[in-house]
């Protein structure tokens, strides 16, 4: 469904991605793991059109989306749930969700999708008139996920959904993401919490300093000592 080949991205002098390739098949959950600064977020930002590609190609459903505007890419069906949630903190819960479907104009469909989100997250329904900045971290995460779902995407990308959340909320968040995939939406997730992510995914990629170091089914990577090394440093392989 989504295919990246030889993508290179630069921020000024620093090359964040040095020619990576990956595939996300339809209706699957693919994760991208790796240590801080490996280039995970940049990959997602490049897919959504927020970071220009220096070279390489990104295709979605067979269409070349490299260099398209963020709005165009969104309307093709790729939603991006950004790192750190980034809810509009001074707008209400409802307005945040409405921003999620900014490009849509089918009011009936929007209304039913809103109902769907509210049934999925009853906490948000209770607080629909509340300003998002006053929500707890977990509630903000639900809101960010709901907002991404409001565009009725074919593919949702999550950037570090567990970041800064308490462990029980993390588990809940992963359950929701699992549910999204089961309902037929493709998921590409970047996650630092590697074991949990690898445990739930269909396929995984390990990024290291802007290059793909390893790929394979989740259970295979979990047992690969290379993953642990990537996080905690070498010299541990036999620990």
């Amino acid at each position: 469904m989504l295919e990246i080949s030889n993508l290179v991205c630069r921020y000024g002098k620093v090359t964040a991605l040095k020619g990576i390739s990956l595939k996300v098949p339809a209706k699957q959950l693919v994760v991208l793991v790796g240590a801080n600064g490996a280039g995970k977020s940049t990959t997602l930002r490049a897919i959504s059109g927020l970071v220009p590609a220096a070279s390489g190609k990104i295709t979605f459903d067979g269409e070349d989306i490299t260099g398209m505007s963020a709005g165009r890419i969104l309307s093709l069906g790729i939603a991006h749930c950004p790192e750190g949630r980034r809810v509009f903190s001074q707008m209400t819960v409802l307005e945040n969700l409405e921003m999620g479907c900014y490009l849509r104009s089918d009011s009936k469909g929007i209304a039913s999708d809103l109902d769907h989100i509210f049934s999925l997250f009853p906490r948000l329904a209770e607080r629909r008139r509340q300003v998002a900045g006053t929500l707890s971290g977990g509630e903000q995460q639900m809101l960010a996920i709901g907002r991404a779902m409001m565009s009725r995407p074919k593919l949702i990308m999550f950037d570090e959904p567990s970041l800064g959340l308490a462990p029980n909320i993390v588990a809940q968040t992963f359950d929701i993401i699992q549910g999204i995939r089961e309902s037929g939406t493709t998921v590409l997730m970047v996650e630092q919490n590697a074991y949990a992510a690898l445990d739930m995914c269909n396929y995984a990629y390990l990024l290291e300093a802007g290059t793909m170091a390893l790929e394979g089914p989740g259970e295979k990577l979990i047992n690969d000592p290379h993953v642990r090394e990537a996080y905690l440093g070498a010299g541990l392989a036999h620990a």
Partner: protein, 265 residues
């Protein structure tokens, strides 16, 4: 704990019961640790664990909600960042570590700010004392550049240096303030292997000169290789404090970094 055999460890920096809340969000809850004189301690932890927040509290850029930081026995509570620097506790920054549009040499001269006592009057009238002082400062700036190993680039603009050299210049700037303790915020992130190698060599040199160093860093091989002691933060709380070996085999640390959901390991 693991301080060299020069006698009992003498604490230079102590963080006691520090907590930081941003609105409802708890960035740091009850943090306690000590850095001893001459020690190299690393502060590590996953993203969002509160490391940079901790740095900001220690150096006066952020006021803690609770608790206090003491340096050389003096409480830093309520001090402004430049006053903290004056006590000899100097930091570097993750991103903006140098003055980009100023020459490397002048960068270091700016760093030497704290060492001058030039009077405004003397400066404006070009009195001998101020001239002598200025000359001495320039000498010292050269010395620092040589120590760090970027003296051949003295005339370049700070921002035009290669990335690794910029970070070295950042340390030179901090060193110019004559710190007894140096706080480095992710100094080698984004460096390539040879740059990291140079940086580690510099750190070792500084240690040999008796500087105390507190490091926040993600580069695990480097942290494991150089630290006397490692403090691990997760969710704003210290989950481990020990030697690199102890840390590497600490199940809590492994869980913090790689997450739950593992049946094996």
């Amino acid at each position: 704990m693991t301080v060299a055999a020069t006698g009992a460890p003498r604490p230079i920096l102590a963080i006691e019961h520090v907590a930081v809340h941003f609105g409802g969000l708890i960035a740091i809850s009850d943090m306690n640790f000590v850095v001893n004189e001459g020690e190299l301690v690393s502060l590590i932890g996953p993203n969002g664990a509160g490391k940079t927040t901790a740095f900001n509290v220690i150096t006066g850029f952020l006021k803690p909600t609770k608790g206090q930081v003491t340096f050389k026995g003096q409480s830093l509570n309520g001090l402004k960042p430049h006053e903290v620097t004056s006590l000899g506790l100097v930091r570097t920054f993750q991103r903006t570590s140098v003055f980009e549009k100023i020459s490397v040499f002048d960068n270091v001269l700016i760093g030497l700010h704290r060492r001058t006592s030039a009077s405004l009057f003397g400066t404006i009238f070009g009195l001998p004392r101020e001239r002598r002082q200025e000359k001495a400062l320039r000498e010292e700036a050269w010395e620092i550049l040589r120590l760090v190993g970027i003296e051949h680039q003295a005339d370049e603009l700070g921002g035009s240096l290669p990335y690794g050299d910029q970070r070295l210049l950042g340390v030179a700037l901090a060193l110019a303030a004559n710190p007894s303790a140096l706080l480095l915020d992710e100094p080698v992130s984004g460096m390539n292997a040879s740059e990291t190698g140079r940086f580690v060599a510099l750190l070792n040199k500084l240690r040999a000169n008796g500087k105390t160093i507190l490091l926040v860093e993600h580069d695990m091989p480097m942290v494991m290789g150089i630290s006397d002691r490692i403090v691990v933060l997760n969710y704003g709380r210290i989950i481990a404090n020990g030697t690199p070996k102890e840390i590497q085999n600490d199940p809590d640390v492994i869980q913090a970094y790689l997450g739950q959901g593992v049946k094996h390991a």
